[in-house]
């Protein structure tokens, strides 16, 4: 089975929907995501041991933007994650990027009712998003770096109606 085709089919099944309004939906989302990733890698005999809710949300947000049919982004396996404790919490990730590549970063939260944002800053600290979007517990930002070097990814917990600790995850892809 072509894993890229699998990804496209799975996305069409979910209609590219990245929202879930309750815990049941969140679980379904995690199951869909696990199944998707499992299917993508089944041919390799790899079994996914664990996918966090936050990472699942980020991956699900990423899939429609990976341009799998045409000029695909390569989604990195590595990811960042930590907890947010309260609304307004900000995390900064320092990361090396390379000129001429195009990058997407996606943030996801474990709590569907919470709200997150993600933005990218250059080595001088200037906002450098080529485009960005935010939709409840997931968000994305794209950058085409003007030079190679350090960049800063800023993730913020915008809303947290539940008031409890929320896990965040950031993944990225390049082409």
């Amino acid at each position: 089975m072509d894993p890229e085709q699998t990804a496209i089919n799975a996305d069409s099944v979910t209609g590219g929907e990245v929202l879930a309004s309750n815990r049941g939906a969140r679980s379904r989302r995690a199951i869909i995501c696990c199944a998707l990733i499992g299917a993508m890698t089944l041919g390799a005999g790899w079994v996914m041991a664990f996918v966090s809710d936050a990472k699942s949300a980020a991956i699900e947000a990423a899939i429609p933007q990976l341009d799998l049919a045409d000029n695909p982004y390569l989604l990195r396996e590595s990811w960042w994650h930590e907890p947010f404790r309260k609304k307004g919490d900000v995390k900064i990730i320092k990361h090396q990027l390379f000129k001429r590549n195009d990058y997407w970063f996606w943030a996801g939260l474990s709590e569907p009712d919470a709200k997150v944002s993600i933005h990218i800053y250059d080595g001088a600290g200037e906002l450098a998003d080529a485009e960005d979007w935010q939709k409840d517990h997931v968000a994305g930002a794209r950058i085409a770096p003007a030079s190679s070097g350090n960049y800063y990814i800023r993730v913020e917990l915008l809303e947290n109606p539940g008031g409890e600790e929320v896990e965040w995850a950031v993944i990225y892809a390049f082409r």
Binding site: P3, E4, T41, G43, A44, G45, W46, P72, L74, R76, E77, S78, W79, W80, E82, D89, V90, K91, I92, I93, K94, H95, Q96, F98, K99, R100, N101, S117, H119, Y121, G123, A124, G125, E126, L127, D129, E131, D132, W133, Q134, K135, A139, S147, S148, G149, N150, Y152, R154, E156, L158, F174, R175
Partner: protein, 277 residues
Amino acid sequence: MVAGMNQLRTTILATTAATVLVCLPYSAARGQNGTPQKIDIANLPAETIGQVIIPIPQEVFASLDKLGSRNWRGQIKDHKIELNSDRSRTALLFGLVIADGFIAVQAENRNGVVNIGRDVQRLAVALGVRNEVDGHALAIVDGAGDADWKSVRRELDRARQTVIDTMKKLQDDELADLVSIGGWLGGTRALSALLAEDYSAEGAELLHQPDLVNQIAQRYEALPAATKPGPVYSGVKNTLRSLSPLMRIEAGGDISKESVETILKLTADLTQKIYGS
């Protein structure tokens, strides 16, 4: 000229319209939600994440390829891996082999990639992570057979990440770090070799990795001494420290051909020592 300008204007308008359409379903525009237009990087908050993700060689190779074709075949090295009981060396070798895999994919060298897949299997056995990595190793070999280079690149990254995750699960965090360092070393060696062969300031700019090399050096130096027995490991430390000033561009400057050649010598010597130790 006018027609060209009109065409350009049409393209810009179309692109802008497409971007607006793509962004319409989403609520955030730049500046909304109090997004700062600038952050003070000299005074980053305590919430800066310590976890460093080292770019895979493919990230830098993808950029280099956009400057024109390169002699990737010339970068394929036929290393014979003699394993010993030094697990730290095995971890470094795992990272180096993954980097060699990305090079072989760039060269679209089927036999080279198949051999890499087999080396990945052997090294995974030596690291005690065979079950976790076997599927990826087989997928690398199969992908090479089908010339499915996208799949091979994905599986190389997955094999690397699986070893790192498994090592961390087994409380072998230091070996996980060494896998990452080996991968970065192999990628940097290949990049500097290609640039030394066909230098351009634009290409050499990819070696501008000022903080990354320092972060790698700090992580390496923080590893327990028992993880780094013998002269090869002091060589790693010295090489990383020597690379740091070379991989930095001061305002308006370039990374010179001489610096590229020094980076190549340092990384090639260390790679050879790791394979040969």
